[in-house]
């Protein structure tokens, strides 16, 4: 098997040479750097959460890796797939390209919190009722986009659905049911 060479100065050793007792040098690095990192307060699902990360850190990674809200998914990182969609003040955004430093006190809603809103709950129910979901990996984003659509347009046309949902890729191909479920959610009380 191939061996590791660690490139950090003094410990350029192969993995074979590396014993497990070697103190992890990154602790030192980390300590130095943590001092420089700003604390950013994010208003997520009605709570204020502090994260220590650079201002340019995309919201996606702050949510997933620092706050443990793993319902928001990574799919492309370049605003192409919609898997990372969350709401900022009710508007759908691709969290993979929204820096945490740009959000301020605006309200962030994620898939973990969307069920507390009437459109979100309706969308979730319609999704289950019509069994939209296959692997489910894209569906956090789909549900967030659909909930935002219904919040703004309670009775969307096919063209409205196309416009609101075309940014969300589903590799499993659940589009036919997504369209039906949005209409069902719109009809439900």
């Amino acid at each position: 098997m191939k061996t590791a060479r660690i490139l950090n100065g003094a410990w350029q050793k192969s993995a074979a040479e590396m014993s497990y007792e070697i103190p992890p040098l990154w602790h030192t690095l980390q300590t130095q750097q943590t001092l420089e990192l700003p604390v950013v307060n994010l208003h997520v699902n009605g709570e204020v959460k502090a994260v220590e990360a650079a201002n340019d850190t995309p919201l996606l990674w702050a949510l997933r890796d620092l706050l443990g809200l793993t319902g928001t998914k990574f799919g492309c990182g370049i605003a192409q797939c919609g898997a990372c969609t969350v709401h900022v003040d009710g508007k759908p955004v691709r969290s993979c390209v929204v820096p945490i430093g740009s959000i301020g006190e605006r309200a962030i809603t994620t898939i973990e919190g969307i069920g507390a809103t009437p459109p979100g709950r309706k969308v979730q129910q319609a999704w289950l009722h019509l069994e939209v979901i296959q692997c489910g990996y894209c569906q956090s984003g789909q549900i967030m986009s659909a909930a935002a659509l219904l919040a703004g347009k309670p009775d969307p046309s096919d063209a409205d659905i196309d416009a609101a949902m075309a940014g969300n890729i589903c590799r499993c191909g659940t589009y036919v049911r997504i369209r039906e479920a949005i209409k069902k959610a719109a009809r439900s009380a």
Partner: protein
């Protein structure tokens, strides 16, 4: 879409039982050493554990162990339905958990190893799961009969309880746990008459979906062992290349970067979160040793493949005298080609690993659990029983997670890291270091006389994936997957020869991709059938139908789809219908696509209708969903899918240039199920196989232009403007 996709709602209490994808998912205490049949007496009396799939506790709660992984195909639900049906369990009391790695207990009967793939979960496990359920039911009945001192034949099981018919006495399964544990499992328990199925055949709500609407479902990428660090990697962009020099001074300044791991073929950056790791990786200046493949281009690949396809291959099937028959009647020659494809599951490749001196823990979503475990054992040098694999829900497999390379790479990285590390590939790495659907070239010749095919030769040239992936399955130069749906072509052709010519492309690794061998063969055969129908002067449906006398199930599907799709009714200009028929994966499917080709050569697929006979259906709604999704997957490939190579590298990188079908481009889809009492067929890949030839034939009907390679060539289809 059919209207019958509404499902029985699931009780909320069920959700509490779902234990999928959690760290506890493989903490199955009793599963490891339980033979499928045999005495359960040695087991703890607190539960009744008749076999590796079923555990019933004193409260009557039934826990079913899932030998196959859930990646969207609904297998957790359909496997549970089969077990619960024969067990006569109370559906509301059923909970499930993922099986641990164990080929002996949970190996796929068709592969001999623990594999979820080839659309065969239901086909492969149908009998063994029914027997497991029926055996447990027989033991519970026996336990009750002994308690009552009556003949077991006078008792029956229903809805989680055993009843003595004449006296009306009844005992819930939970009350029989102790007694049943002392009994031996019957070797060959009688199975139910399918006419008496109560669960199988119903569209029950899927067990895995409620936690997928609120962010609670855990995929491999969501694993968060305490103290986990986050890593991302860069593999040498040229296939087979290695790391030359790494200049890391800038990367070390990136806030949150913890460590830089340089291996022979890749560099990984470990950080406090993925962004730090990504930024760190971007700040590295890596010089690669590109190795011998730096000159490979798509052109190299195609030239080699075309040259190989000119040579005769190993004969997979022969009947009559094909050579002689080709010289009679009217002869037509044609060749079809398919490109490399990436899988691009929505969940990018990832694997979380904690290597300790005496053990290794792995969190991953894998279609090959035992191979994932073996890869970690090999890299660490630890024995298998010191490697724990927590399998997770899979955010799309499509064949990509039939490989363990993401595990092997993550463990190599983790060996250099103190504590657990989650290695997440960027989408760019995921697309540029896939294990690709091979390029194929199919050379066909046929002769027609009196409206029928009388002679047929078909040579398939491409990779043998099985030769690498399951070497014993590659025999005498024949890849049984490579010739699947070609050697067993459903049409009644008296003289034919089908050959396989193995040709491995330079540099580019190849693997299974949803639809596997039949994708290629059904595209080539069904496109060619259309060309032959024209040659014979016959309607494409009638031409096929007349040669399907020996395959009545496919003929019935063809008849149904033709009527549902309005075959033969008029359409506007540059709009056409195309048909395709297939017997792949044990299912009989006919499909009609309706497309409009605009002036620019863009193809708008407006409607797809499929008629499906897949034998006994476990969960009808899941079958419809798989067809719908599979058709979309196939459309994406037909309309957009191609991986090209330049300078030994993949040229596509993310969804902006490796395009996916989106909701505004998705057609209306209608799937019609044909009732059948035959053994279940496979369904997960069938739609993917069906869509491309139906679309190609529809494009021909709309424009008169025959496309012989995919993806579609818009320039060919555009209306020519005069200069």
């Amino acid at each position: 879409m059919q209207s019958n996709i509404e499902c029985t709602p699931m009780t909320t209490s069920r959700r509490a039982f779902l234990k999928v994808g959690t760290a506890a998912g493989t903490a199955l205490l009793l599963g490891f050493h339980i033979p499928v049949t045999g005495s359960a007496a040695a087991q703890a009396r607190s539960s009744f554990v008749p076999n590796a799939f079923i555990r019933i506790d004193r409260q009557g709660a039934v826990t079913l162990t899932m030998p196959q992984v859930e990646m969207g195909q609904g297998v957790y639900t359909s496997v549970s339905m089969i077990l619960a049906e024969e067990l006569d369990a109370k559906w509301e009391q059923v909970a499930l958990e993922a099986a641990p790695p164990n080929d002996k207990l949970y190996g796929n009967p068709l592969f001999g190893i623990q594999v979820t793939g080839n659309s065969n979960s239901i086909r492969a496990f149908w009998t063994s799961l029914r027997k497991a359920g029926a055996g447990a039911r027989a033991m519970l009945i026996e336990a009750a009969a002994r308690r009552w001192k009556v003949d077991a034949n006078t008792c029956h099981a229903d809805n989680g309880a055993v009843t003595h018919a004449t006296t009306g006495r009844s005992l819930a399964y939970g009350a029989l746990v102790e007694d049943a544990s002392h009994l031996s499992a019957p070797q060959d328990p009688p199975l139910k008459d399918p006419a008496h199925f109560k669960i199988i055949g119903k569209s029950l709500q899927r067990l895995d979906t409620p936690e997928k609407v609120n962010g609670q479902a855990l995929y491999g990428i969501d694993a968060m062992p305490p103290g986990v660090k986050f890593a991302t990697l860069a593999i040498c962009p040229v296939f087979g290349g290695t790391v030359g020099h790494v200049e890391d001074s800038k990367a070390k300044q990136v806030p949150g970067v913890c460590q830089i791991v340089v291996l022979d073929d890749l560099v990984a950056v470990v950080g406090d979160h993925m962004w730090a790791a990504k930024q760190g990786l971007a700040a590295l200046d890596i010089t690669w040793d590109e190795g011998p493949n730096a000159h490979v281009t798509s052109d190299t690949v195609w030239r080699q493949l075309r040259a190989a396809s000119a040579k005769s291959g190993a004969v997979a099937r022969t009947a009559g005298d094909a050579a002689k028959a080709l010289s009679s009647g009217e002869r037509l020659d044609s060749a079809y080609e398919l490109p490399f494809l990436a899988h691009a599951p929505m969940e990018p490749l990832n694997c979380t690993v904690h290597v300790k001196p005496d053990m290794c823990e792995v969190w991953v979503g894998s279609q090959v659990l035992t191979r994932a475990q073996a890869a970690a054992a090999q890299v660490t040098g630890l024995p298998l029983d010191k490697v724990t694999v927590h399998n997770h829900l899979i955010g799309g497999g499509f064949g990509r997670r039939l490989e363990a390379d993401m595990v092997e790479k993550a463990v190599r990285i983790a060996k250099a890291v103190d504590g657990p590390v989650k290695v997440v590939w960027s989408r760019e790495e995921d697309i540029q270091h896939d294990i690709y659907r091979p390029v194929y070239r199919d050379v066909l010749a046929a002769s027609v006389a009196d409206g029928r095919i009388v002679g047929w030769t078909h040579r398939i040239t491409g990779s043998s994936i099985l030769a690498r992936w399951l070497p014993p399955a590659f025999k005498n130069g024949i890849d049984i997957d490579g010739v699947d749906s070609a050697a067993d072509i459903p049409y009644d052709i008296p003289n034919l020869r089908v050959e396989f010519q193995r040709d491995e492309p330079p540099a580019v690794p190849t693997g299974f991709w949803r639809g596997v061998g039949p994708n290629n063969n059904v595209f080539a055969i069904e496109s060619f059938l259309d060309e032959l129908a024209k040659k014979a002067g016959k309607d494409p449906v009638a031409f096929r139908r007349d040669m399907l006398g020996k395959v009545p199930r496919l003929r019935a599907a063809l008849d149904l789809v033709a009527s549902k799709a309005g075959w033969g009714t008029p359409l506007p200009a540059r709009t056409g219908r195309g048909v395709a028929a297939q017997t792949a994966f044990g299912s009989f499917i006919a499909t009609v696509a309706e497309v409009k080709v605009d002036e620019n050569g863009d193809v708008h697929v407006q409607r797809i209708v499929s008629a499906v006979d897949t034998g006994i259906v476990v969960n009808p709604d899941t079958v419809l969903a798989q067809l719908q999704g599979g058709l979309i997957f196939g459309l994406t490939a037909a309309l957009f899918g191609e991986i090209t190579i330049d300078k030994g590298r993949v040229q596509q990188s993310n969804f902006q240039n490796y395009r996916m079908l989106r909701i505004n481009e998705a057609p209306k889809i209608e799937v019609h199920l044909i009732a059948s009492g035959e053994a279940p067929g496979g369904i997960g890949e069938t739609g993917t196989t069906a869509a491309p030839p139906a679309v190609g034939n529809a494009i021909y009907a709309a424009t008169g232009i025959r496309l012989r390679r995919l993806p579609i060539d818009r320039a060919l289809l555009a209306v020519r403007k005069t200069a």
